[in-house]
């Protein structure tokens, strides 16, 4: 069995599955149960300043969107940071860490953008024996209106400044949690890096409105007839998160900066994808909130089986393995030519591929009177839409053409050499090969 033990910025955990800072990690009761269920670590729900705790709304805090069979795909929340007294949280963190020394306990923090505030809270956290801190520069609702959370995360200068304070006043590893509500994720990540962060974690939630109540014309979730935007998470945000993780992972300026991957991790496969794109571990919230703590068992068994099958003995061999294959469009091989192929034994003749291709793409699928669907190679541009809309896995596949064959669509011979847009004759800025 593969070794799932993970060392993330010096914080060791028996597996790379941490619960993200969120309602599941708001108190000792939950965290103990999570550890019993097998989670490798937690990021404790964000602590604020000493004093009267924040208050939450007393109407719905969550909204959702669903797929077929009411499968929860996206969750939106307007809950704030912990609404329990600071001293209670600190006491509980200390107790939990004492009883689970092999698990990671990281504490999420959000205090005002003032040096004194950070200087004051850090020793209190350090005293609990927690393994590190995560700076919540991502929460996009409520706290951001008060100049915290994503209001900080959207200003790289603030990120760098606060990160410096944290590194100055604490010996604990510092993870900076980034907001996706920006245009270029590399800017805040670089600021964290410059400020001395040990790692970044991303993504926090995305500004969102999950729906509108069409009877009262109010955004959802609705509080007494009004709604405010919330933070969106769950399986639906995974592609956005993967891209942002990858952008940082492949950036030369931030090479080697550890990343904790967050955003829609629901199965072992999601976790493996984040890790392959450079995440040293993953943080999970919505999946646990949807299915309970027990889902970590599937993540553990699945990742372990996958690593065994790939001959990977430790998670560090998986981390970043896909990063070298992340490229820019201009460098993709234009001589790589594939054609869709429909497996007639698997085809159930629903005709979705035909509708998609005929109506919206390249009219490259033929339909016979008796509902047999075949690909017209002379029209197929290999866009993959038919594969994506087919309800049967592996029924439609893309088959690579071999060098020397003639592409019936272009009439050109398939070349074996790699060639991309930078040298393509249609590119006005093409670089000419030396003569």
């Amino acid at each position: 069995m593969a070794d799932l033990t993970t060392d993330f910025v010096g914080i060791k955990s028996p597996n790379p599955f941490w619960l993200a800072s969120a309602p599941p990690t708001d108190k000792e009761y939950n965290v103990r149960r999570a550890f019993e269920a097998g989670w490798g670590g937690v990021v404790w729900k964000t602590l604020g300043e000493e004093g009267p705790p924040v208050v939450n709304v007393n109407g719905p805090r969550y909204g959702a969107i669903w797929g077929a069979e009411r499968r929860l795909l996206g969750l939106n929340n307007i809950e704030l940071i912990t609404d329990r007294p600071l001293e209670v949280n600190l006491r509980e963190i200390k107790a939990v860490k004492r009883d689970y020394p092999d698990r990671a306990v990281v504490v999420s923090l959000m205090v005002p953008c003032e040096e004194e505030a950070w200087k004051k809270i850090l020793p209190l956290v350090e005293e609990t024996g927690a393994d590190g801190v995560e700076l919540n520069f991502g929460c996009p609702h409520g706290m951001s209106e008060r100049g915290m959370g994503s209001a900080v995360g959207q200003v790289p200068e603030y990120i760098e400044m606060v990160t410096r304070w944290v590194k100055q006043y604490s010996r604990m590893p510092c993870i900076v949690k980034l907001t996706p509500n920006i245009t270029d994720i590399r800017k805040p990540a670089a600021a964290a890096h410059a400020g001395g962060a040990d790692a970044v974690s991303l993504i926090n939630t995305i500004n969102s409105i999950t729906g509108v109540d069409l009877d009262i014309f109010a955004p959802e979730p609705t509080i007494d007839g009004k709604g405010a935007h919330g933070g969106y998470c769950g399986p639906a945000v995974k592609p956005i998160a993967l891209n942002m993780v990858a952008e940082i992972a492949r950036s030369p300026e931030m090479r080697g900066l550890p990343i904790s991957g967050i955003g829609g991790v629901t199965t072992w496969k999601d976790a493996a994808e984040f890790m392959a794109l450079g995440a040293g571990n993953v943080q999970v919230c919505t999946a646990a909130m949807t299915y309970g703590f027990k889902i970590v068992q599937e993540m553990i068994s699945g990742l372990s089986q996958f690593m065994d099958e790939k001959g990977l003995t430790s998670t560090s061999e998986l981390v970043g393995r896909a990063v070298p294959n992340l490229s820019d469009w201009q460098h993709l091989n234009l001589n790589y030519i594939t054609k869709a192929q429909i497996d007639q034994d698997l085809c159930i003749s629903c005709g979705r591929c035909f509708a998609a291709c005929e109506d919206t793409s390249h009219q490259a699928i033929a339909m016979s009177d008796d509902r047999v669907f075949t690909v017209k190679d002379e029209e197929c541009v290999a866009c993959n839409l038919c594969v994506n809309v087919c309800p049967v896995e592996d029924c439609i596949t893309m088959v690579e053409m071999q060098p020397g064959q003639t592409d019936p669509r272009t009439g050109l011979t398939v070349q074996k050499d790699y060639a991309n847009w930078t040298t393509h004759p249609n590119n006005p800025g093409a670089v000419k090969a030396a003569e």
Binding site: W268, Q297, S301, Q305, L346, V392, E393
Partner: protein, 440 residues
Amino acid sequence: MDPKMLSEGIVAGRRSAGQLAEAFDDLHPPLTEHEALVAADRCYFCHDAPCTVACPTDIDIPLFIRQIATGTPEAAARTILSQNILGGMCARVCPTETLCEEVCVRETAEGKPVLIGQLQRFATDTLMAADVHPFSRAASTGKRIAVVGAGPAGLACAHRLAMKGHDVVLYDARSKAGGLNEYGIAAYKSVDGFAQAEVDWLLKIGGITLENGKALGRELALEALRSEFDAVFLGVGLGGVNSLGVTGDEKDGVRDAVDFIADLRQATDLTALPVGRDVVVIGGGMTAVDAAVQAKLLGALNVTIVYRRGKDRMGASAFEQDLAASRGVRIITNAQPVAVHGNGSVREVEFAFTDDALTPTGQTFRLPADQLFRAIGQTLNGDGLPELDGRKIAITGAGRTSVAGVWAGGDCAAGGDDLTVTAVAEGRDAAEDIHAQLMK
């Protein structure tokens, strides 16, 4: 109609080899990968799932289904087999309609449960096809344990003991291991020699020596076993069959349903296996249905199950009753046999209708029969056994008998539902208890 269907008496070759092959094919063909993914997708991953609660072996059903859904059926198989080493057979023979699937929340919601049994088969078949045995033995304990009976209880017990590092001698009276999995269930539930394949796979754990042809009370004596081994587990099943207790019970053509089923399971050529034209099966349990349906599939013209109580009291599940009906078996309830008529061989069976208190109503009827199967329950055979509770071995806790160092489980032990899955649970739990006792 083929004239052979009309031939009187107990004759072979009523149907062609081709017809028989089709008739005895897999009752539930295995799910394809696509079907398995669609079925797995329907699971809600319930908390404290009712299906798991209903499973006698406590398999974590939501977890294994999620593992199938996420493309790791091998991990799913481990989840199943860690609780139930005969998970492959149980996936085929469990009356899921009265266990896990009955309580599935999607049965409640839509009347269509998640196909738990078939998904379990998909997972276990995947692992076994890869010829992987996912467990290994702990360091040797030096302890030796005799397991008597290589049926589901004995196999489960032996495997768990071997895993714990004990050495096991597994005895069985018959020439093959497997017990009722090999000799007792309908052929269409265990096709392609699955029972033996599963035994072979199970024994790959190592540390289990199988000795066939050795029966308690024949080659083996409990006292001798107790002195030779550190512990003894009895999983001997029920060797005897209840008699009808009516006139004519001994006539030719009257036999035990379990013997008919065993003959059928061991037959290499079903065209050579004789069956009556008019077959009557007396009883209301799974064995009655297995015998009746298989008699029909073999080519019997008329097959009737007669049960003395009402339909709702039948031991066979509603699914099994419907299966029998769909294969053309007639089920008569509230009737008990009065006499078996015939000159040497059975010719007719006379029944009296009964009310729910089993009091005859005074009305009788006769069914023509050239073959009559008794399926009214089995009994425990043997002397020198531990104390009995009623007609089975009395047990306390995890299979402890009245005799120190002797455990029992499966059909021979009191309690339980006489199901394969219950036997597996009892064998497994007894093994854990034996281990705890021996390692004190």
